[in-house]
Symmetry: C3
Subunit: 343 residues, 3 copies
């Protein structure tokens, strides 16, 4: 329990209303109760806030919220993000290497880093300041983990791969599995050895149970500030631009270069060997097979510009009705009329 | 080896034919040999059973199976399920905490529970009676596991998440990874801290390498009796209705509420922020973007009622032929005729 | 650093040009520098090679590469594969069972095998000569692993499953999870116990975070020489033909038999209970629902022969334009003309 006045002080922002109001947690507006703090980002949600039992809000100047205690912020959601750890503190992990972790030779583990039981480090591994390596994480030979990283349980980082600073990896994700590359010879698939690595730049977050393959000879790159959801597949030799977003279960085939602010919606896919410019968006369940143009959104299988796909889908679902009409018209000798094309 | 008479006695059902017949295992009808027990659920499979070398069957009253030894049951497949562990016993796990498991402070582990080597438990974890926690499982701080659960190797349950009774989780599955939520600010993706949890109700079974995210502030719920196949993705704040079925590789975006008996076929997807009523079915590889109606089956990208989609697909595949015909007709001045619309 | 003459000697092939040329690594032609070795497989790439700073090449007899040092090989890429470990040696794993591995009773571990820390073996497990079992791998009771296998971190092999020789499994993959099989009874899903297993034949490679379910009563088979990419799902009772290829995130429903040289492109799916002949190919993001014909490539949802699908997609995207034309023509009384059908 903290008062709203204390919270406002901690984020150095002004407040209005009852400063002694106790707040026990952060919540979304839809489910917030009288004990919660939530935020209102625009006029659109003011009435919902007024009707809600919530008493403590963060809102921009100018939004009228009579009867509520309001912290005024130019970026209400960011302020709530800042307040969240104050109201929902997580126990700090104890720095140090648990005696049940396995650490190879020549490793450099920062004193402020935490190695949990059953973390398994090969030789020559580096772990930076304040990074947390959870149970069951495997770091191969020569792996480098930067500062302030958090590798959740069961993450595997293959030999020679490198993660930058402030990288968060959720449980079960794999970096540095061999790419899917084989040469056909006499009816067999001969494995191409993969001697490249994966580099994950600063401020990246990767979801659970993803798989990011090492490059054949060079480096598979995940650009800084990029975020991935769960079960994402990035094949060998890819180069993901910075500040990109990958939704759940999407996948990219090998040797594709993606520009900055690339965005893949859920369950979408991208073909290999493309060079995609900045700020391209792929719609859900779509399959991108061409390079695309910067700033454009693509959808469909294969993907086309979103408007083009949306029109084609509309026509697709109107086809059976249209055909029925044509049948009738053919019987009477008429041509298709304009009514048949709606939908 | 057990005789069919002994098996019938153990499930307290009558049998006909040679009671001394030895049975060594349960099998499907298609591959069953003379040493197996299998079942016949309807008249439709009687001839196949008579032609099969199998000698021991479970079948409903009234099905004529001369020459076979038959346990009579109103629910033959359920009876076979009941008999399976008798013919295929699995060694019972030894209750107790292996000395190579890591257990934090303040945990309550039932005496009849089993903790295998390299299970890693945080602080304040509860494990119920007869539950089995396999090697490499990670249970975060405050996790609660009910009675008679089975967590296969490498499962991760994040801090504060709770599993009910009789929950089975296959290897590599993750509960409580942070949801994929970011606020855009000055060209960066600012992480929304996730302080909610996941609650898995009783009698749920989850396949291998699934990922179920914790709620932002509240609870992601997997309703009782729900079953999921492998590689399923459930985003933050979802609420899965009871007795639902999720086939392999399907996924649900955030904050969607699904009613009871929801059914997703393989590789299908559901958009976020929907409120789907009871008994909705999504076809394979389909993408549900609207709420839908109870009892309806949807298919397509985006999904429509199955019949509507099936007709549109039929028309889609007949389009090239249709267009060819129109070309011919345009050349002769005719209108499309009824023949063009078949397929 | 090795000279090209030494490399040629090690693979017993002739070379031309400066034999004292030092080579430090293998690389692809597009990114190779003067210190690299790469290959040219056809006339098509000769000019690119001549323009590249690369000095050391493997090429077939007859390709003119003046100024370069060239190892002559009938199969240049295979030669590079052979040379790769010479230039990029990986430290050999130390044979033996790490004291921090857990080994059950009655296991037979070859003396030349390596068991890393926190590998967890049940009872009666066999591990063959020179096989490497990484940290966090779980091998259930009675599991058999052949010779020269490499199981990367966090792999789970469920009880009774068997892997042949030279099987490579990337991190987080699961063999032998229970199949997704339930009987509906009084509104509940009653679990069908799965007492079958998975057999993986020789020379198979499986990517990261895949899931391959055990058979209900028999065996789920992965045929020899088959290769799978990441996040692939193979349901219970499947039988994968030899030398098949499964790209990332594809999935097969239960009880489907696939012939030899089956090929699934990325994010594709196959329905259950099919019997697919040899040499069938499924296009990306496609859904195979019929058995198909040997040698044919299928695409679409549902899949049809690739040419049929490609034509239908072309027509699909031209529909809106076509409809607009019809509207115009309906207004003037004309019939669709040939111009409307392009695209």
């Amino acid at each position: 329990m903290t008062t709203i006045a204390e919270l406002a002080a901690q984020v150095a922002l002004p407040f209005e209303g009852d400063g002694d109001l106790d707040v026990s947690g952060v919540c979304g507006l839809a489910t917030a109760g009288p004990e919660h703090l939530t935020f209102v980002e625009s006029e659109k949600f003011v009435q919902q806030a007024l009707d809600s039992p919530v008493r403590a809000l963060v809102a921009q100047e100018g939004l009228e919220l009579p009867g509520k205690s309001v912290i005024r912020s130019p970026f209400p959601q960011l302020t709530v993000i800042q307040i969240t750890p104050l109201l929902h503190p997580r126990p700090a992990s104890q720095p140090g290497t648990d005696s049940r972790a396995a650490v190879g030779t020549g490793c450099r583990i920062a004193e402020s880093a935490t190695l949990h039981p059953f973390a398994a480090l090969g030789n020559g591994v580096t772990v930076g300041e304040r990074s947390e390596i959870c149970s069951g994480v495997s770091l191969g030979d020569g792996v480098q983990i930067g500062a302030d990283c958090h590798l959740h349980p069961g993450v595997t980082v293959g030999w020679g791969c490198r993660l930058g600073d402030r990288v968060i990896v959720h449980a079960g994700t794999v970096f540095g599995s061999d790419g899917f590359g084989f040469v056909q010879h006499e009816g067999r698939h001969v494995k191409i050895p993969h001697v490249g690595n994966v580099i994950v730049e600063d401020d990246v977050e990767i979801g659970a149970n993803c798989a990011i393959d090492r490059s054949t000879y060079d480096t598979t790159v995940i650009g800084r500030g990029t975020k991935m959801d769960n079960l994402v597949h990035i094949a060998h030799n890819c180069d993901v631009g910075e500040f990109s977003l990958f939704s759940g279960q999407c996948g990219v085939a090998g040797t594709t270069k993606m520009g900055a602010y690339f965005l893949m919606a859920g369950q979408s896919g991208v073909a290999g060997h493309l060079d995609i410019p900045d700020r391209v968006t792929i719609g859900p369940k779509s399959m991108m097979v061409r390079t695309g143009r910067s700033g454009e959104t693509y959808a469909g299988i294969p993907a086309r510009p979103m408007r083009e796909w949306a029109k084609a889908v509309g026509a697709f679902y109107s086809l059976p009705r249209l055909m029925k009409r044509w049948r009738a018209e053919a019987a009477t000798g008429g041509a298709p009329d304009s009514e048949g094309e709606k939908g």
